[in-house]
C-alpha cells in the first residue's frame, strides 16, 4: 500500500485497471459463483456423477490472480479449479459439458471436474493430485525462460498442498533457477477436514517463502484489489527475470470439501463469519463506491450471468456422450502406434 495516499486512497485495482476490465472481473466472479451453484444443482438433478469441489467464497482470488495474465501465460490449477478455469477465460458450456461427461467437454468427457483444462487459454489443467501441479508449473516456467516467450506461470494450490514434498522441491528449483512463476496458495484454512493449525508448522504459508529466498506475502484473499496488487507485483518481478514469488490468499470455502463432507471440523459460526466477508459483495461495493458501476449495472451482470449459465447447461445437457467404443482413445498421440 505504498502509494495509497498519492492516489487519494483509491484501491490498487481501481487505480490500475480500466472500469470495463473491473466490471468484467466482477462478472467473472459471478460466473464462478453461479457455475458452482449450477454444478451443485445439476448434481442434485443427477446430471453429474462423481465428486466435485466447489470454490464458492474464493472467487476473488481466482479472478484477481489472472487479471494481468495473457493467453500466453500459463496457469496450473487444482481439484478446486473451476474458478481458475473461468478466470483464465474458459467457455462455460464446455466446462459443464465436461462435468456432464460429454464429448463436447474440455476433456471429451474423459477427465471430469478434476481435470478440466483449457490449453488454448494457457490453463494447463486442474489436478486430482494435491500438489501435483506445482512441479508442472515450474516446468512451464522453465519452458518460458528457455524458449524466451516472456510468459509467466501462475501456480494455484491449497494450504493442504503446502505440506507435500512436491511443494518444497518445486519452489526450491524455481528459486535456484530464477524462473518466472508465481506460487499462489489459496489458504482456506483447511485441507479437507484438517486445519492448518493441525497440519502446518507455520501460521502463514507465506512464511515458508524464506526457505526459498523468495518474497512471500499474505493477502486478504477476499479483497480483489489486494490480491491484484500482490500478484501484479509478482508478475512484474517474474517478467523482469527476477524469479518466483509466493503469495498466500487467505480465503474460505463456503461449501464442504466435497459432496461427502459433513462439516464436522468447523463451526456454523465460522462459516457465517466468512460468508459475511463475501468477496463478490466486497468487489461490488468497491466498484460502486468508485462510481464504476451502479445498481442497474450490477443487476444486469446478474441477469447476464444467469442466462450464460442456463445456456451453458443447456448446451452441455444437449451434447452427445463419447462413443463407448472410443473409451480408450487419446491414450497415445499416435493412436495407430500402441
Amino acid at each position: 500500500m505504498p502509494d495509497q495516499e498519492a492516489s487519494g486512497n483509491s484501491p490498487y485495482a481501481v487505480r490500475t485497471y480500466e472500469p470495463a476490465r473491473l466490471i468484467e472481473a466482477l462478472r467473472k466472479m459471478h460466473l464462478i459463483r453461479r457455475f458452482e451453484e449450477g454444478a451443485e444443482d445439476s448434481y442434485m438433478r443427477g446430471l453429474i456423477h462423481g465428486t466435485m469441489h466447489l470454490s464458492i467464497g474464493q472467487e476473488a482470488s481466482a479472478v484477481a490472480a489472472c487479471m494481468s495474465l495473457t493467453d500466453d501465460d500459463k496457469i496450473t490449477s487444482t481439484h478446486r479449479g473451476h474458478g481458475h478455469c473461468i478466470a483464465k477465460g474458459a467457455d462455460l458450456g464446455r466446462m459443464f459439458a465436461e462435468f456432464f461427461g460429454k464429448e463436447t467437454g474440455y476433456c471429451r468427457g474423459r477427465g471430469g471436474s478434476m481435470h478440466i483444462a483449457d490449453v488454448d487459454k494457457g490453463n494447463l489443467g486442474a489436478n486430482g493430485i494435491v500438489g501435483g501441479g506445482i512441479p508442472i508449473a515450474v516446468g512451464a516456467a522453465l519452458s518460458a525462460k528457455r524458449l524466451g516467450t516472456g510468459a509467466v506461470t501462475v501456480c494455484f494450490f491449497g494450504d493442504g498442498a503446502n505440506n507435500e514434498g512436491a511443494f518444497h522441491e518445486a519452489l526450491n528449483m524455481a528459486a535456484v533457477w530464477t524462473l518466472p512463476v508465481i506460487f499462489v496458495c489459496e489458504n482456506n484454512k483447511y485441507g479437507m477436514s484438517t486445519s492448518t493449525e493441525r497440519s502446518t508448522a507455520v501460521k502463514n504459508i507465506a512464511e515458508r517463502a524464506g526457505a526459498y529466498s523468495m518474497p512471500g506475502e499474505t493477502v486478504d484473499g477476499n479483497d480483489f484489489s489486494a490480491v491484484c496488487q500482490a500478484i501484479d507485483a509478482a508478475v512484474k518481478r517474474a517478467r523482469d527475470g527476477k524469479g518466483p514469488s509466493l503469495i498466500e490468499n487467505l480465503t474460505y470455502r463456503w461449501r464442504g470439501h466435497s459432496k461427502s463432507d459433513r462439516n464436522r471440523y468447523r463451526t456454523k459460526e465460522e462459516i457465517s463469519d466468512w460468508q459475511a466477508k463475501d468477496p463478490i459483495v466486497r468487489m461490488s461495493r468497491m466498484l460502486k463506491d468508485h462510481g464504476i458501476i451502479d445498481d442497474a449495472g450490477l443487476a444486469k451482470i446478474e441477469r447476464d450471468v444467469a442466462q450464460t449459465i442456463e445456456e451453458a447447461i443447456a448446451f452441455a445437457a444437449g451434447s452427445p456422450s463419447p462413443k463407448i467404443d472410443e473409451a480408450t482413445r487419446y491414450v497415445y498421440t499416435d493412436e495407430a502406434a500402441a
Binding site: 456423477h49 462423481g50 465428486t51 465436461e98 461427461g101 460429454k102 476433456c107 468427457g109 474423459r110 477427465g111 471430469g112 471436474s113 478434476m114 481435470h115 489436478n127 486430482g128 493430485i129 494435491v130 500438489g131 501435483g132 493442504g160 498442498a161 505440506n163 507435500e164 514434498g165 485441507g191 479437507m192 477436514s193 484438517t194 493441525r198 497440519s199 502446518t200 461427502s260 463432507d261 459433513r262 464436522r264 471440523y265 456422450s321 463419447p322 463407448i324 473409451a327 480408450t328 491414450v331 500402441a338
Partner: protein, 336 residues
Amino acid sequence: MNAQTGAAARELSYAEAIREAMDIALATDERVVLMGEDIGVYGGAFQVTGNLVEKYGTDRVIDTPISELGGAGVAVGAAMTGLRPIFEFQFSDFATLAMEQIVNQAAKVRYMLGGAVSVPVVMRFPAGSGTGAAAQHSQSLEAWFGHVPGLKVVQPATPEDAKGLLLAALDDPDPVMIFEHKILYKMKGMVPEGHYTTPIGKAAVRREGTDLTIVSTSIMMHKALDAAQTLAEEGIDPEVIDLRTVRPMDRDTVLASVRKTGRLICVYEGVKTLGIGAEVSAMVAESDAFDFLDAPIIRLGGAESPIPYNPELEKAVVPQVPDILEAARSLAKGMI
C-alpha cells in the same frame, strides 16, 4: 454362527468390518496406532475409520498432513521401533508418492539388515474404479506391490475377509499391504464377532465346479459368481476362486482347480498387461497343470487406458459380467 470360528456373526458392511478390526486392535494392543489423512473427525474419505478417534483419541488416531511419502515413512520408522501403525492412503493412487518408503525401505529393511529388524506396518489402500473420480483416483495398482519381495499383498473381497485379513496383517511381523475396493465398502455380509484371522496366502474356493476355473480378485469375485450362476443355468459348471492374496500367491489352490477343470479364466480390474492375470496365467503355464490345459488361458483385465470420468466409459474399461460370460462360453465351446 460362523462355521470356522464358532463365533456369532452379524451382517456388517465391508467398511464396518474393517473398522471393527481396527477397533479390536486398538482396544487390545496399545502399540496400534492409525495414521492417515482425515481419518479423525472426518472419519476417513470413505468413512472407514468412522468414529474411532472419539473412542481412542487423537494420539492413536492420527490425522497426518497431506504428506504421503513422509507419512508412510513415519509409519515405517514407528513400526521399526515398537508401534504397530495402520496407515491409510486416502486413495491407492497416492501410493505413487510413497513408493520409496514402501519399496526401498519397508520391503527391504529386514533383508538389508540381515534380519536384524522387522517392519510390522500395515497399509490400507482404497482402490479401484466405479466412483466417477477419474484417472487419478481410480487405479488398481496391486500388481506393482505383488512384484516386490518383502511385502505381502492382500485384496479382500468380502466383509468377513476384510476384517480377518486386517487382523492377520496385524499379527504379521512384516509389511502387509491391503487393497480394499471402494465400491465394496458399502457391501454387506456376515462377519464373525471378536478376533479371528483370515490366513494371508490362502485363496478361497467360492464356488466349486468342474468345467472351468475362474480366478478372480476383489470386486471381480462378485462378478464371477454372478456369471457363474448364469453359466450354471446354461449347463456350464465353473469353479470360482477368490485369490485374496496377491503376494504370496496361493499356487496350490489355483493349480488344483486347473488340474480338475482344464480351463482357466482370470478376471481382475487392474490393467490387463502385467497385471495379476499375467502372473496367474504364467504360474499355471509353468507348472505341471499345463498338461491339463485344454484351451488357451483367458485374461480379463482392465483396458489399456486410464480410467475415464464418463460413467459409461468407466464401465467399459473394466471387465463386466457379460465379458466373463463371453469368455466362459468361448472356452466351453471347445469342451463339448
